[in-house]
Symmetry: C2
Subunit: 142 residues, 2 copies
């Protein structure tokens, strides 16, 4: 079934704009995690005018709403990934081909009980080379 992006946006109390719909469409059809710059490039094929700050803002809002996931790359750039898996889990990301594999939720939630205070956010991510890239001898790239 296709995703109802308009409904998703409404649920987040975000206005349903063509740019946001196109952003979601671009993310959801990508097979890898993508950079804001790349999203911007792709949207330039659809809109005569599309500003980079808009892309950054929308990606950030969508990530804050939990619709898309941030990928923290070792190169310190931020990437985004639309993960159809709606249950709580984390990711293994390939540093060569940028594909993403789901990792079933680890015990961090239990660990949070160790914490005396309040956990606001947590990051769990594994980086490496997927099997295909490993076999092909590809290298991690920036």
């Amino acid at each position: 079934m296709p995703h109802d992006f308009a409904a998703i946006l409404k649920e987040l109390h975000l206005k349903v704009t063509p740019r946001r719909l196109a952003t979601l469409a671009a993310l959801s059809t990508a097979t890898t995690y993508v950079s804001p710059e790349e999203v911007h490039k792709r949207l330039q094929g659809e809109f005569a005018r599309i500003g980079l700050p808009t892309v950054y803002r929308n990606l950030e809002e969508l990530a804050a709403g939990g619709v898309i996931t941030k990928v923290l790359h070792p190169n310190r750039q931020l990437y985004y990934y639309f993960c159809p898996n709606r249950s709580h889990h984390h990711h293994f990301v390939c540093l060569a081909c940028r594909t993403v594999e789901d990792l079933e939720c680890c015990g961090l939630e239990d660990l949070e009980k160790q914490v005396g205070g309040r956990v606001i956010s947590h990051i769990v991510q594994a980086n490496g080379l997927c099997q295909a890239c490993l076999r092909a001898g590809r290298e991690a790239s920036a």
Copy 2:
């Protein structure tokens, strides 16, 4: 027992320089995670000339060697922390007072077996407010 910083540096095949020793001393006496900028400021009290790139380089090398830990702040800046706990574990960091609590190792290592490829690195970190800051009503700060 005091840390033998010179020995640590030698083990990493890094030259034992006054700046590196002072960097380690600064990190190890800090009670919180600190920014490169802050390390630089502190070293300026010890050295007439100390360049910011040197601080960045040394912190990066020490982190690569596993002597200090990177803290990935939600504000996207990088901080460093000298953790005396030498066993594998992760951290809960307070976004208000910058203190760090150890989290006993979660199951990510097991999860890595799910991965078909090779895991090069992983991040596990919880962010929030420690109990003291929670009680004091302090807020997460940039």
